[in-house]
């Protein structure tokens, strides 16, 4: 599903965030990327989601070389992914429902069909009763779950999550982790970045140290 082959990412200024990283994640797999902060976890996810381009090496998503893809093709590649960002990136000018509806609008799904799917996604993360709430009134854990609802609403084949349990207490964190496992159980490929090796106890682990893969 996703294949990295000798991928290096060098940022302007010379900092090498990733050095010759190679791995492959199959359909329906769940994989954790661990490492200290600044090890290159976020960079790896951004490269996979075609948000950034590799300096060298190839990245294949569903057999497509996303590093070489034209600008016009990128949006369509990104729609394969459900993205959960470290800082949520929720929109604070609209309520929970409208936040979750955004990916559907982008994909051209509106009206009643959109409403049905938005509510299904909110229900999945347990936020259906708060669909009219503004994100700012939600707790940290609820905001995280709202971000997850937005990521799954268009039923992507791959979920990419950057530190989804980063700022949450242990109870919340295990709830969220259970949520990801339930998605994985229904066949969604999940790639999770976390600095917390404990939550990665079960599952495949890719450990990064200063941008280098450590097996």
């Amino acid at each position: 599903m996703i294949k990295f082959d000798a991928v290096t990412k060098r940022y302007p200024g010379g900092h090498e965030a990733l050095k010759a990283v190679s791995f492959e994640i199959g359909k329906g797999e769940m994989m954790f990327i661990t490492g200290h902060s600044g090890a290159g976890k976020s960079t790896l996810l951004k490269l996979a989601a075609a948000i950034e381009r590799p300096t060298s090496g190839t990245i294949l998503v569903n057999g497509q070389n996303v590093g070489k893809m034209s600008r016009a093709g990128l949006p369509y590649v990104r729609r394969n992914f459900g993205l959960i960002f470290q800082d949520h990136k929720l929109l604070y000018d609209r309520n929970a429902f409208d936040n979750v509806a955004l990916p559907l609008a982008i994909g051209g799904v509106t009206g009643r069909e959109a409403g049905k799917r938005v509510r299904a996604a909110l229900d999945k993360v347990g936020l259906l009763p708060r669909e009219r709430a503004m994100p700012i009134t939600l707790s940290g854990g609820e905001q995280q779950r709202l971000a997850i609802a937005r990521a799954i609403v268009s039923r992507p084949a791959i979920l990419l999550a950057d530190e989804p349990t980063g700022n949450l207490d242990a109870n919340y964190a295990s709830d969220i982790m259970a949520l990801f496992r339930s998605f994985n159980e229904v066949g969604v490929t999940v790639l999770l970045a976390t600095h917390d090796a404990g939550s990665a106890a079960s599952g495949r682990v890719l450990h990064l140290d200063h941008g280098v893969m450590v097996l």
Partner: protein, 302 residues
């Protein structure tokens, strides 16, 4: 197709909702665009009315053909035939030298002085009215007639018409230049307004791009906003012109009555009105396209 319509409807609804949220700001915007556009449109209106007035007083420029004094007698018949057949001549009459001489003597009161002349110094002449007041045609006629046999001189009586037309043409050029400059200003004004809107929606754009929005999706609502600004501004300009004209005509009426004339300023025609509004909408579209493209390419570089 259905999806396409749906996407546009969605963008338009979004924009209308935003516009409703800030009525005063949008009213001011419409006023600014309206005032900007009413300048060249007003000047155009003025020149258009002047042209109409000029057409009214034209009295068709006259050409006078003076025959050579030694022209043989059949020349008059020959020229008469030629003028009758000429497509650009609307009417003409012959002015015989004897008749002219008599008229001159009677009119001028110089009978004594003129009587001292031993013979009639006036030539035979044709006075010709052109079918078409266009200076180029008349000049061509003048050249053509000068070349005919035994025509001593073809004189254009209405050089001032040419000057007036040249002035009106100059005025039209001024309108074009003014329209071009203010059009550019309008693109900048609307572009800047859209840029402000983009800045307030920066996060939405960023997130949308991250989760797979195409540039077109992001651009669409802003293009609608810019076009609507232009459209409403164009209509405002038209309304400003109409109101100004109405006020003007009230005074013109009084004046015209004093001079027993029915002169009134004509409002902008249907075509010109449509052109004004459409151009304004187009400029709005252009301004917002420019603003969004600039922002998107800025995102790409970041």
């Amino acid at each position: 197709m259905k999806e396409w319509i749906n996407a546009h409807r969605q963008a338009l609804m979004q924009v209308l909702k935003k516009l409703r949220a800030a009525p005063l700001a949008n009213l001011i915007m419409a006023g600014v665009i309206g005032a900007t556009l009413s300048l060249p449109a007003g000047l155009y209106l003025l020149i258009d009315n002047l042209s109409v007035a000029a057409n009214g007083i034209e009295t068709e420029p006259q050409l006078t053909l003076f025959l050579a004094l030694d022209a043989p007698a059949e020349t008059v018949k020959d020229l008469d035939r030629r003028l009758r057949a000429h497509p650009d001549v609307s009417e003409f009459h012959f002015l015989g030298r004897d008749a002219a001489w008599q008229a001159l003597q009677e009119k001028s009161g110089l009978t004594d002085a003129l009587g001292d002349l031993e013979k009639n110094p006036l030539p035979d002449a044709f006075v010709i009215h052109a079918r078409n007041a266009d200076p180029a045609t008349i000049e061509a006629m003048q050249r053509e007639f000068s070349g005919w046999p035994h025509v001593e001189h073809a004189q254009l009586d209405a050089a001032w018409v040419k000057r007036l037309y040249a002035l009106l043409q100059l005025g039209n050029k001024v309108v074009l230049i003014l329209a071009g400059l203010l059009g550019f200003a309008l693109v900048a004004i609307i572009g800047n307004t859209i840029r402000m809107q983009i800045l307030t929606q920066r996060e939405e754009i960023e997130v949308s791009k991250l989760i797979g929005a195409t540039d077109r999706f992001i651009r669409r609502p802003f293009l609608y906003a810019g076009t609507l600004h232009g459209l409403v501004g164009g209509i405002t300009a038209w309304a400003i012109l109409y109101a100004a004209l109405y006020a003007f005509n009230l005074s013109v009426d009084d004046l015209a009555r004093l001079y027993a004339s029915d002169f009134r300023l004509r409002p902008l025609g249907l075509e010109a009105s449509l052109l004004l509004v459409c151009c304004s909408a187009l400029l709005g579209w252009l301004g917002s396209y420019w603003a969004v493209s600039r922002y998107l390419s800025h995102l790409e570089r970041a």
